[in-house]
Amino acid sequence: MGISRSPLGDEVTLEGFGMLRSARGGLLVGMVLLSVTVAGCGSRDEEEGRVAPSGKTGKVLIRIRGSDTLVNLVQRLAEEFMKKRSDIWVAVTGGGSGTGIAALINKEVDIADASRAMKSKEIKLAKERGVEPVGVVIALDGLAIIVNESLPIDSLTLEQLGRIYRGEIKRWSEVGGPDMEISLYGRTSASGTFVYFRDKVVKGDYSPRMKGMIGNSHIVEAVKKDKAGIGYVGIGYAVDEKGRVEAALKVLRIAKDASSPAVTPLKVENVKEGLYPLARPLYQFTNGKPKGAILEFIRFELSEEGQKIVTKEGFYPITPDHMKANKKVLGLSE
């Protein structure tokens, strides 16, 4: 299961690019922020804007960039951390795992958020530039397959899902649903979730009729309104603060194959134990073993309090095995 593999494994995925901030924080805010990323690839500008105030007040700055799936969660963690440590300023931007990792390699950020492991190519490039990537797992995600609440379908197999997204299954009636044309929602080629899902599930080319949405929230909003829609988003975007599925949405149960039981990503144990076929770890990478303020921030994320925030944001806390591996990587004693 991909869930327990080394963070520096060779998983060929690329995390996404949009940076819709919060499904519940208001789509408009997300969209405006998104425009910053899309229109100008301007996450750097935004970040520079954040460097200035901290420079003035003499705070220690931690720069974080990466995954759209992680951006809300890490922002929340940063806010709570900054409440305790007024001498540290944590600047979080999205832009996608690929962007975050590239920024880490270019020494533009202190931490790269990623919803996938680093590729061997990226690790090689990092080492050439004198960057020694070190990764910790900060949360778990069960990539949620969402449909409109009104759709009378509750589960699919990975194979059916693949055929739907390849465009081989065109109508819901072919998988036991009503006679409606399936309306496909996915991310765009710049997104890592796009590549993760393609390599893990589609195993071919996406149907050209799939709509390319620019972030998790964009998919959530569309599927809420589309009675025949289906989409994939990080679990944190499909549920609210109390872990309930967002109104007008349904999270499907997914079976590994026809003979396996269909499993929901809404139960923590399914994701933790890797029973859910689309369970994946969410990473943070630093250049070398983190020290000082960066180490303190990561320790906060991994603390009980930090993991509570992870749960509150709809994702899942890491397992003791991950914790052990993290501690080893960070050079902390048990």
Binding site: F17, L34, G96, S189, F194, K203, P208, I214, G229
Partner: protein, 293 residues
């Protein structure tokens, strides 16, 4: 004496430089686009570029066809003009000829404010308002399609069309209208048969400028048209325009790859289209100026 003439010359040169900088920038952009675009054809066959499947991050063999994107761009723009031209010219005629000064004072700033609404906000309206409405009216499951883009682009092109058309209608010499009234024509007849035809060139220029606005618009279509890469078969299909493709993909494409250069080629195509539109607009307005000026 000598010194003041030298100063005069220096200032003259300085202003020449500032004026010329626009030309230099334009030439620079064009060169950069073309030089990068040409490199795309090292990896992508010229005719493949004019295929109908765009799939640079394919599971297997990537493809770089852009015809469906050109079709998408033209479709959304055409749809926008079908909506915006009658509305815009009507509004312009009303403001210029019919409205009382007080109504005009309310309308004109309102239209200017409409021009100032950020495209991201219009795109947002496309998702939450226009999309569901289209889905309801046409019995579709989703309203993220070319029609949605057209409606939003029409809204965005309206201010340009209204203000330029209004200027043109206003510039029609009063003698024309007086002559028309003197022949016993009603106000309506005068407006439709005399004033608007006389202002035709200005109105045409406004439409061409509106087209330019619609072709180049990115954020709104990116948000509202669904971005499916398939060749559209009608206004109710999801489309992905040239601009949206660049915006979506340039952010993260690895530098120096075929995909990277292909995006520059898409940009070059877009540049040529908008350049053509602007040249047409320039020609029309120049003729217009000769006729009325």
């Amino acid at each position: 004496m000598m010194l003041s003439r030298l100063k005069e010359k220096a200032i003259h040169f300085l202003f020449f430089l500032t004026a010329f900088s626009a030309v230099v920038i334009l030439a620079g952009i064009f060169l950069m686009l073309v030089l990068n675009a040409i490199r795309a054809f090292e990896d992508v066959g010229f005719w493949d570029f004019f295929g109908t499947r765009w799939n640079p991050s394919a599971y297997g063999e990537p493809s770089y066809g852009i015809v469906q994107m050109i079709v998408s761009t033209f479709m959304t723009t055409l749809g926008a003009m079908l909506i915006a031209v009658p509305l815009g010219v009507g509004a312009a005629a009303y403001i210029a000829e019919v409205a009382s000064p007080r109504v005009r004072e309310i309308l004109k700033p309102a239209i200017e404010i409409l021009a100032g609404i950020p495209s991201v906000v219009i795109g947002f309206l496309g998702i939450v308002l226009v999309g569901p409405l289209i889905a309801d009216v046409f019995g579709l499951s989703s309203g993220l399609n070319a029609l949605n883009g057209s409606i939003l682009l029409a809204v965005m092109a309206l201010p340009t069309i209204i203000s330029v058309s209004e200027d043109a209608i206003r510039a029609v010499p009063t003698e024309y209208k007086e002559a028309s009234y003197a022949l016993g024509a009603s106000r309506w007849t005068t407006l439709v048969r005399v004033t608007i035809p006389a202002a035709f060139q200005g109105i045409a220029a406004s439409v061409v400028l509106g087209v330019g606005r619609a072709v180049g618009e990115t954020m709104t279509v990116l948000m509202a048209t669904g971005n499916a890469t398939a060749m559209p078969h009608g206004f109710l299909d999801s489309v992905r325009t040239l601009t949206a493709t660049i915006a979506i993909e340039l952010g993260e494409v690895p530098y120096g790859t075929a995909h990277y250069y292909a995006l520059f080629a898409v940009g070059a195509v877009l540049f040529i289209i908008t350049l053509g539109i602007n040249l047409v607009a320039e020609m029309i307005t120049a003729k217009h100026r000769r006729l009325t000026g």
